[in-house]
């Protein structure tokens, strides 16, 4: 193991240009993937933010007794889809309208705005069908006058989300495949550059595992270094964009670590594949 480690590190020293080249290649292909990931991440969080505003508003008929309405609020709160239920009284509705539309303050008189029950749905229960379902259940209370939940835009939003998911998956897969292919051929170059060494190892009776070990370590290290550089470049891009254009979201620590792990894994597996292919061809 110590020898494998030494040989792996030696290969960086013996062929600094080739090593730098392959790390750079790995870094840039992972960078492209990271950028895509950032775009996808931000789109998703933007969509989620919009989605979180999906709300059902049930207007309570005038003259409804307060305890009937609050009993209903209790019932609705126990629906599995429901995140939060708020009872907005007539007075509160008026107050809110005054705040939001300050310049028209004087047109609002007490009594013109009805009380309402506002229902916010949990994440994962915001498809058009589910929203409609809850709305229908609400409408069964006989003191409910009218229900609004932005039917049209809920549907549009949902469609947008579906499209975004599919496009994201397709693009993500493509980017990942391209990275893997580029990284794989880079590593293949490194393996070919060391073909004479592999030949000698086989001549003197080194086992397959022994021959593979330095390459696997080398691939792992290159993948990891490439991943770190890619993450760094992504962060610089993100910070620059944040300063110049828009405030966006960056990968969480977990996502970042996952990205580094993926880089190391691609390097490792790419090396394993290349060395095995080479060994099969020469053995």
């Amino acid at each position: 193991m110590r020898l494998a480690l030494r040989e792996a590190l030696l290969s960086f020293r013996r062929a600094p240009m080739l090593s730098a080249l392959s790390i750079t290649t790995i870094a840039f292909s992972l960078f492209a993937f990271d950028l895509f990931g950032l775009v996808a991440l931000n789109l998703r969080s933007a969509l989620r933010q919009v989605e979180s505003r999906v709300e059902i508003r049930a207007f309570v008929a005038e003259g409804t007794r307060a305890d009937a309405a609050s009993a209903a609020v209790g019932d609705v709160q126990s629906f599995p889809e429901v995140e939060r239920v708020t009872l907005v009284s007539e007075a509160e509705a008026l107050e809110r309208a005054r705040q939001e539309l300050g310049e028209f303050e004087d047109v609002f008189d007490a009594g013109i705005l009805p009380a309402s029950i506002e229902v916010r749905l949990r994440e994962g229960f915001r498809t058009p069908d589910q929203v409609r379902e809850v709305a229908e259940r609400l409408s069964k209370y006989d003191f409910i006058d009218d229900i609004r939940y932005g039917e049209e835009w809920v549907e549009k939003l949902y469609r947008l989300r579906t499209i975004a998911t599919f496009v994201g998956l397709a693009l993500g897969t493509t980017f990942a495949l391209v990275s893997i292919i580029i990284i794989g051929s880079t590593i293949r170059m490194a393996v070919l550059a060391r073909a004479p060494e592999i030949q000698v190892m086989r001549l003197v009776g080194a086992t397959r595992g022994f021959i593979r070990a330095p390459f696997l370590i080398e691939g792992l290290v290159k993948g990891l270094l490439g991943g770190i550089i890619a993450l760094g470049l992504s962060f610089v891009t993100y910070a620059t964009l944040g300063r110049l254009v828009i405030q966006a979201e960056f990968f969480s620590v977990g996502h970042s670590l996952l990205g580094l792990l993926a880089g190391a894994l691609i390097g490792f597996l790419g090396s394993a594949y290349s060395v095995d292919r080479h060994l099969r061809r020469v053995a």
Partner: protein, 239 residues
């Protein structure tokens, strides 16, 4: 004593129908020095590759140090190779390592204990008379010296059989002679040597057994002369 290498009706065909060896049978004993001669393409390298399990026979059986080509699994190949040493016409040294490192490499990658590496390297360097060039890189050495490094590397794992594929092919006459002398010396202390060569002057300079191949067939085996199977002068038919 049982044979160290036994070929039993070995045929080797390469893709595209080229027959490199055709029903070849012979045996090599422990400690024996044997020449393998014949024109280029006669199948000399194929025989070495089969012994070394770089290739497998198309039919027939190759038995090397008790391991049969019929039953040998890929896992056992490295173990077998550690008992064999090989040198080639083109030396196959690693250009970015010194003489000592090239030799040590053979021990390191076969998992030798680090403490035992240096003494062993020094011992074989002395054996091939290259102690003074231990820190030289291959490009600083002459062809003959490079081949001696390659021989040292082949010897460092204490093989019972040394295979040499045209070891003098790239060398001038004097260097060639000294390589042959070195191989004879190695043989004298107990290692069997199988040397493929088409340099008949070298063959004639010694009185070792000679196997001659022609178009993949064994046409002459001085070792069988005693039994009267074949007559002739070693190498006589290939010039």
């Amino acid at each position: 004593m049982s044979a160290m290498v036994r070929f039993t009706r070995v045929t080797k065909q390469y893709p595209k129908g080229v027959t490199a060896l055709d029903e070849v049978s012979f045996t090599l004993d422990r400690g024996e020095f044997t020449f393998l001669t014949g024109p280029s393409g006669a199948g000399k390298s194929s025989i070495l590759k089969l012994i070394f399990v770089e290739e497998r026979p198309t039919s027939g059986e190759v038995k090397v140090i008790g391991q049969s080509s019929v039953t040998l699994t890929p896992k056992k190949i490295p173990v077998l190779r550690r008992k064999l040493g090989v040198v080639f016409q083109d030396f196959r040294l690693l250009p970015d390592r010194t003489t000592a490192e090239n030799i040590a490499f053979a021990l390191e990658v076969t998992g030798a204990p680090p403490k035992r590496i240096d003494p062993k390297v020094m011992r074989v360097l002395e054996q091939v008379d290259l102690l003074a060039k231990a820190d030289a890189r291959p490009h600083e050495l002459s062809g003959g010296e490079q081949q001696r490094v390659a021989i040292a590397r082949a010897l460092v794992n204490d093989p019972v059989l040394l295979l040499a594929d045209e070891p003098t092919g790239n060398l001038d006459e004097r260097s060639a002679r000294s390589i042959l002398d070195l191989l004879c010396e190695i043989n004298r202390v107990g290692t069997a040597v199988l040397m493929a060569t088409h340099d008949l002057d070298l063959v004639r300079a010694t009185s070792f057994r000679t196997l001659e191949l022609h178009h993949g067939r064994l046409v002459f085996d001085a070792g069988t002369m005693a039994s009267g199977a074949t007559a002739g002068v070693p190498g006589g038919s290939s010039t």
